[in-house]
Symmetry: C2
Subunit: 668 residues, 2 copies
């Protein structure tokens, strides 16, 4: 190391001093100072206890508490840690970032928890803290990337169980894992802020903090975070369908939504119990309406019904049970219409037994403070025996209305799309099969999860390549064997086509229009064009985002290992904008990436909780509809999908608590 | 029963009809309809599972989950209940209450969960849902009183552990027990409303509901609740000491306070982690100030310190630890000044080691948005060696400030006091030794807990009685034996004097001024007058409220048993205002009450958590200061004091969770 480099380091590291808080001074104090005192105290205490009123304290507690507390004492010893008095070094650049970029904002090259000024690793920036982001993170190793995650919420939320938490079956906190804990393993950085823009040319993400005073927008600050690799995983927002009055409804996206909904349900029950509430108001307060018959809406309706019949019925006046109504308004002709028809029908039959009203073929027109107005289509037979479809406008009063009719892109996604001409899908950011954002040439930006969609491969455009590679004998036609090679080649290149490439012999025969026993170029073009039309995008589910995150995390790990920077101990990597070893690394990585297999989605199945049991369909055609074991399968599947041992244990505890004590019916 | 009475009943009961929600239709459905289906499904499923992707679901879950889920399935069978299709009768008067009283408001004589129109039991109304109210309730039996509890919050909060919940050591929900669950045992009624006034003449409590629209005060409704016996247990509010700027501070009274404080602490850490936060802002954000050195303030400071050093230090940038400061501002010269001096000093020494700053002899002058300004008294020695007390004005910046400087009466308490001329204590409602509100002649109103204080017995006023009863030989003086009888008589009548009646021989000698070996009337008067001056009121603690509640509950139960109404099966108790059997009952009860022993407080001890250990002093002079076992004693004491098995188990689970996974550091 040259003397110059040394002095640079010395100047660039400053030390913050102050009263150093130690990790476990308390435990240290106990174990060292008071051990003796405690020993001599105990016999004195035992002697005295009989003559004091202390025993009264134990009372009932002695019965239930002693065993628990006794066992507890054995294992709950606060652990003792050594004091560390090392000064903590903070990079000078983290304290006083330089300014730049289009808007001359601070460029945060270093964070206050970086241990040195030099960032000799590629900068990986992840926007979002949901399924896609966390699954990516969990695949990475420490030391491969300088990772920064930007999200306005500092916890990951296990969204599929949110309806359960909304009625108090699960504790909301059991569904959350702090992002900082997940990042700790890879020594990543977290910024509690919202991404507002991306400068793709300078590779800068513009972010905005919440501000010290939430009521004063000017207290929020903007800055840039530079990236070498960027992952966009910002999720989605609710689809409004242009309906007015959504401010009177609840949406089920966040912890705060879930808590507000629980409070509202219990509050309505309390209000309905008051003697000054009129019978009409009582009916309105206890009418729960769900707009949208997808899994979220159906699960919420089922959980709500369970809570009302199992828990609220016990503590609230019995008469209220007669006044409760739960209504699901669905635009299609069946609820759970992404599931197989048998499952939809099973759930509808179940609901009708339980007096959960399912209103189908109905579109919400607008929403008033306590009323949903909707148009219902119905087929009537006139006097001449002819069928007509008529539309009737109906209304239903509500005390609480959940709006769960699908997803729409966030403002940020829309902004990103508007900056890239190649992005032509209004519903999501388009990526290639390797999750690289379309329109960004250097593979520096990825998008996944709800905010992204994988582009249709447009097979017809690739017909020349596909055909010529397969046509080994160059006779201008594909024999059955050549056709099979062609298909397997195509599927490995575009895994999304796999579902359409079943029953190959039938396909071959179908498109062999001239019955020649071979397929010529025109016949193949026809087939590919038909497949192109059938291609649909992946559903916006946690399962897809999770698999995409795993894929991307593994790929990023593999790229980092392939293109490990050629540093030696003597090399002193330059600081600042050049960072040439990092650039070299990235060039190698980019070359390698095209060899890395594309993303392949494996549909494991769909599940929905429908009130003390579950329905589901799995790959291989296996279905489950109801039954006690379906409930347990549902529970074990979600347990196995947890991101941490902590949340897994907490959720098991919650189910046990619910079984022992029922749901929590305090307004919290 | 006369035909007339029969017809009255028929008219007065109406039946609400509607879709009757059944208790457990789901479980019923599973067990009856799908048992067969399930049985045939299972072998099919087992066969298929190997060939499907289902196994992937289990993955990691198989390792941790199988045992738990397996065991879970054994005991978590949803219980099956029979369908009940009985129509539920609601008293007509509950649906359409008659109007009356001073303000012509609805008088709620019946609730919608009453099973009949006639209320043939004395009406017991409890205002409040804290320690006093719940301890009273827990002593009562079903069927003795028609009980109505009025409180704006529908859960009981275990306040002594609130500081623990505020930092995430305990789950807030573990400290809550729904009032409706507690009331269920005695078939009581709960009204989510606030008592706003009492009409003592007509025996009506005026209450106000929250209103359907919280932003619109006109949606709130007022009505009267009639009582025969009334318990006022409304607690207290925070003492402001006339300090301006309290809106910038937090108070620790409710669940919402605790949650807001936790969010603020974590939010400040997130803001301090941002690179755009200046070092000065960082210091301010991480400065936590507690005004008030009582148990609440000290426990919060200790818990906060624990959370920062044990949990936040692990996930937030290390450098933040150097910037954290915790300050306690105390007006007296020691913190925990209700404890014995040795304990105060022990805690101060402990805090000084942990860099928790204790600022004593300081009064807060006013509070600015991020700054506490206070006056500190200090003794200085001038050049001539003379001591002067000087007052310096100082300030400390904060990111969060807790205001916990004692209690003050609520607006409702003040209103009640203003209506009764005999109530002359500005700090609390005054009761006699039997907890009966002073100034209410017919023993119909009780007050207890933080809102009440037991009147000083004014022994001097009773000297004639006491003296003459004891002076058996009527010689105008008390011998040593007569004096002892006199004291024991006095203590049983006024238990509050007991603490002052120790070392009787010394007392006797001290007041035998003429050394005659006997006490004459003047000497006794001097003694009683001195004792009167020494008499202090009971502290405003959960312990006092709890014991008062137990006393009152037992007394009310006993009164009900003594004066059971003389009904026979043939008697049809009249409805409406006369309700003479109830009146007769109450007259008997009132006569009996004067024979019932007065309330006697037994101080069990005081406890405070001071950071991974606890301090305490108990009756009998036993003290504990620090040590690991003190922590466990502290824990077991609080476990034994829980109001339900549910909260007791949940709190044990929470302590285990904390030990396993640390505190919860998501912003929730």
């Amino acid at each position: 190391m040259t003397p110059k480099a040394l002095s640079v380091r010395a100047v660039r590291s400053v030390t913050l001093r102050g009263p150093l808080l130690t990790t476990r001074p308390t435990a240290y104090f106990i174990s060292n100072v008071h051990k003796q005192q405690t020993r001599s105290f105990i016999p004195a205490m035992v002697a005295r206890v009989a003559s004091t009123n202390l025993l009264r304290y134990f009372g009932l507690g002695a019965v239930t508490g002693t065993a628990g507390v006794g066992g507890y004492m054995l294992f709950s010893d606060p652990d003792v840690e050594e004091l560390t008095l090392d000064d903590i070094k903070v990079p000078e650049l983290a304290l006083h970032p330089s300014k730049g970029g289009m808007k001359d904002l601070p460029i945060v090259t270093n964070n206050i928890d970086d241990t040195s000024d030099e960032i000799d690793k590629p900068r990986l920036v992840i926007i979002g803290g949901g399924w896609g982001a966390v699954s990516t993170l969990k695949q990475l190793n420490e030391g491969q990337y300088h990772i920064t995650l930007i999200s306005p919420t500092n916890y990951f939320l296990f969204t599929p169980l949110l309806p359960s938490a909304t009625v108090g079956t699960l504790d909301l906190r059991s569904l959350c894992e702090p992002i900082r804990k997940i990042l700790k393993r890879v020594a990543g950085h977290y910024l509690e802020a919202t991404a507002t823009d991306i400068d793709f040319d300078r590779k800068l993400v513009e972010v905005r903090t919440k501000g010290t005073d939430p009521t004063d927008p000017s207290s929020a600050k903007s800055f840039y975070v530079p990236y070498d690799k960027l992952v966009i995983a910002v999720g989605s927002t609710s689809q409004t369908h242009g309906v007015d009055g959504l401010e009177h409804t609840y949406q089920l996206k966040t912890i705060l939504d879930a808590r507000a909904m629980k409070r509202k349900v219990l509050d309505n029950f309390e209000k309905a119990s008051l003697p000054t509430t009129s019978p009409e108001e009582r009916k309105q307060l206890l009418s729960f309406v769900v707009c949208g018959g997808g899994p979220t809406g159906v699960e919420y309706a089922a959980e709500l019904f369970d809570m009302i019949s199992e828990d609220l019925g016990n503590v609230f006046p019995k008469v209220l049970r007669n006044e409760v109504s739960v209504t699901i308004i669905q635009s299609r002709d069946h609820i759970l219409n992404t599931f197989e028809a048998g499952i939809s029908k099973y759930v509808e039959k179940r609901f009708s037994r339980e007096h959960v009203n399912v209103v189908t073929n109905s579109r919400v027109q607008h929403i008033e403070p306590t009323k949903v107005i909707y148009d219902q289509k119905r087929v009537v037979v006139d006097d001449n025996g002819e069928k007509h479809e008529i539309t009737e406008t109906k209304e239903v009063e509500f005390g609480l209305c959940l709006w769960s009719t699908g997803i729409a892109p966030t403002t940020f996604s829309q902004l990103v799309r508007s900056k890239i001409p190649e992005q032509n899908n209004r519903r999501a950011l388009v990526t290639d099969e390797r999750l690289r954002l379309k329109g960004i040439s250097d593979s520096s930006v990825y998008a996944l999860g709800d905010c992204a969609t994988i582009d249709n491969p447009h097979l017809v455009e690739h017909i020349m390549d596909l055909f010529q590679e397969a046509d080994k004998d160059k006779d201008g036609t594909l024999t059955w064997n050549e056709f099979r090679d062609c298909v397997s080649n195509m599927v490995s290149r575009y895994p999304i086509t796999e579902n359409h490439m079943t029953k190959l012999k039938d396909l071959f025969d179908k498109y062999d229009i001239d019955r020649s026993g071979t397929l010529d170029m025109d016949e193949m073009r026809q087939m590919l064009s038909d497949i192109d039309k059938k291609m649909t995008s992946l559903p916006a589910t946690a399962q897809v985002a999770d698999q995409q995150g795993k894929y991307l995390g593994k790929k990023l790990k593999s790229l980092a290992m392939t293109a490990r920077p050629p540093y030696t101990a003597l090399d002193d990597p330059p600081l600042g904008p050049e960072r040439s070893p990092v650039r070299a690394t990235l060039a190698i990585a980019q070359a390698h990436e095209s060899q890395y297999p594309p993303f392949k989605y494996t549909h494991l199945g769909s599940l929905a909780y429908v009130g003390n049991t579950a329905v589901g369909e799995f790959s291989g055609g296996f279905k489950m509809m109801g039954g006690l074991w379906a409930l347990y399968l549902w529970r074990s599947i979600f347990l196995s999908e947890q991101v941490s041992l902590r949340t897994r244990s907490l959720i098991m505890l919650d189910w046990t608590k619910k079984w022992l004590f029922g749901r929590d019916v305090s307004i919290l």
